[in-house]
């Protein structure tokens, strides 16, 4: 698989072997000798520049420029093979200002001529104090630099400080578990004028999500989560994840070699979220078996549930029209719960207690959602 010789300095190598070091024996570089001095092999694509990295699955050594081209080619292949973005489509990229959505927007913009699509950025302001302001500033800079239309769905009038409010009102150690549920649901709000939504989840995100779904016994998400694209159902827009097969490391390296400006602070609620446990487990697995993350994503694509376990097809929220597997979508249900003074009403087992719908004109009425540009 690896065509280039290993690169340990001979003195270091013999020191490790004499010590009987496990690390030396496990390291694949050790088994392939040997350049006398540590140096990078030439790029196997252009043969001109020296290599800057190896691709995780193939082990191919590439320079920065060739790696970026290969990365873009891979995304193009993912989109074309999956028919994710039809020609003529108006594609809204969910932009958070972070590394993944920055890379996705940059790559799709480069591929616009090949794909025949038009591109815009969409961002959601869930009202997470401090964190979201700086992130949105990064999105605004990107929209200006790339000359892309930008729509920010400001839920502030309906949802003023809502995610923080959820955090304050739900007590104790449960609080942190619920903040990300709420944050994620708000991300699914309406987009303006688009025919497709492109989401920037990378392979590591997908693997973590699949692992979380298994750990929670969430058959519904396991059934729905597979598949590169989600067709639009119940009035929702078709969604896709063009970076699904790109590892997080490759996304970061692409952003580095293309000198992309992105925002990178941890969401204040992230340290306490359940996803962190899945991530830690995956990182340990990856250390033992480097292809574990991508393999998990690929096997999830092939997963089929037994007929008895499959959930019913989702419909539309009776209040706002978003994709929903129950009468109310999660965002409207969460809002209902907060307004009734029962913040956990729509979270986890609390959903079983949700049986009434709010009347029009109350918070949760989609007519009250404002869009700012």
């Amino acid at each position: 698989m690896h065509s280039c010789p290993g690169l340990f300095h001979a003195g270091v190598l013999s020191r490790e072997l004499l010590k009987g070091s496990d690390a030396a024996i496990r390291n694949p570089h050790v088994t392939r000798l040997l350049c006398p001095l540590p140096q990078c092999p030439p790029c196997t694509s252009c043969h001109a520049a020296r290599a800057a990295l190896r691709r995780p699955r193939s082990g191919q050594a590439l320079c920065g420029a060739c790696f970026c081209s290969a990365f873009e080619a891979k995304v193009l292949h993912t989109v074309l093979a999956g028919r994710l973005l039809p020609p003529g489509g108006v594609v809204a990229v969910g932009a958070s200002g972070g590394k993944d959505s920055t890379v996705l927007a940059h790559v799709l913009r480069a591929l616009v001529p090949r794909l025949g699509i038009s591109l815009q950025l969409v961002a959601v302001d869930e009202g997470i104090g401090g964190y979201r302001d700086a992130a949105l500033a990064a999105v605004r800079r990107q929209a200006a630099r790339w000359e892309l239309p930008l729509t920010i769905l400001a839920c502030e009038d309906l949802f003023r400080g809502l995610t923080d409010a959820v955090a304050r009102r739900t007590a104790g150690s449960d609080r942190s578990r619920y903040c990300c549920t709420f944050c994620g649901e708000l991300q699914a709000a309406r987009r303006a004028g688009a025919t497709n939504i492109a989401i920037s989840h990378n392979a590591d995100d997908m693997a973590e999500t699949r692992l979380m779904n298994f750990l929670r016994g969430d058959a519904g998400r396991l059934a729905r989560g597979g598949g590169l694209g989600s067709p639009g159902e119940g009035g929702a827009l078709p969604r896709c994840r063009p970076l699904q097969f790109a590892s997080q490391k490759e996304v970061v390296l692409y952003a580095h070699f293309r000198r992309l400006d992105y925002f990178s602070e941890e969401c204040v609620y992230a340290p306490e979220a359940f996803r962190g446990h899945a991530r830690d487990l995956l990182k340990r697995l990856e250390a033992a078996r480097p292809s574990a993350v991508l393999d998990l994503v690929h096997s999830a694509e092939r997963l089929a549930l037994a007929a008895s376990a499959r959930p019913p097809r989702p419909g539309a929220c009776s209040r706002c029209g978003a994709l929903a597997s129950r009468a109310l979508c999660q965002a409207c249900a969460l809002l209902d719960g907060l307004n009734r003074g029962r913040p956990r009403l729509a979270i986890g087992k609390g959903r079983r207690g949700l049986d009434k719908q709010a009347t029009p004109g109350t918070p949760g009425d989609p007519a009250q959602t404002k869009t700012i540009r």
Binding site: P38, A52, K249, L253
Partner: protein, 101 residues
């Protein structure tokens, strides 16, 4: 015996938050008996530059999983990782991949 070395140490992707938000550090490593490699550099960084929460940067004698290391713009995997011997004027960049995007 290693002579003093002048290297540039840089942090990105959020890792700079552990270093007072400062991304670029021009560093002079003192002369010492053992040669300067990345392993020693990490110890030096932890002692002299790291301001908070070492567990977010270091794990054992290496970096925490999820932190990429680029030496002169090349992945450290190509250069021997912890065993790479630093040269004068080398540039070492630590990029955290652990934040949302």
């Amino acid at each position: 015996m290693a002579a003093p070395l002048s290297v540039e140490v840089e942090f990105g992707g959020g890792a700079e938050l552990l270093f007072d938000g400062v991304k670029k550090h021009q560093v002079t490593l003192p002369g010492q008996e053992e040669p300067w490699d990345i392993r020693n550099l990490l110890v030096w960084i932890t002692k002299n530059l790291l301001k908070e929460r070492p567990e977010l940067f270091i794990q054992g004698d290496s970096v925490r999983p999820g932190i990429l290391v680029l030496i002169n713009d090349a992945d450290w995997e190509l250069l021997g990782e912890l065993d790479y011997q630093l040269q004068d004027q080398d540039s070492v960049l630590f990029i955290s991949t652990l934040h949302g995007g």
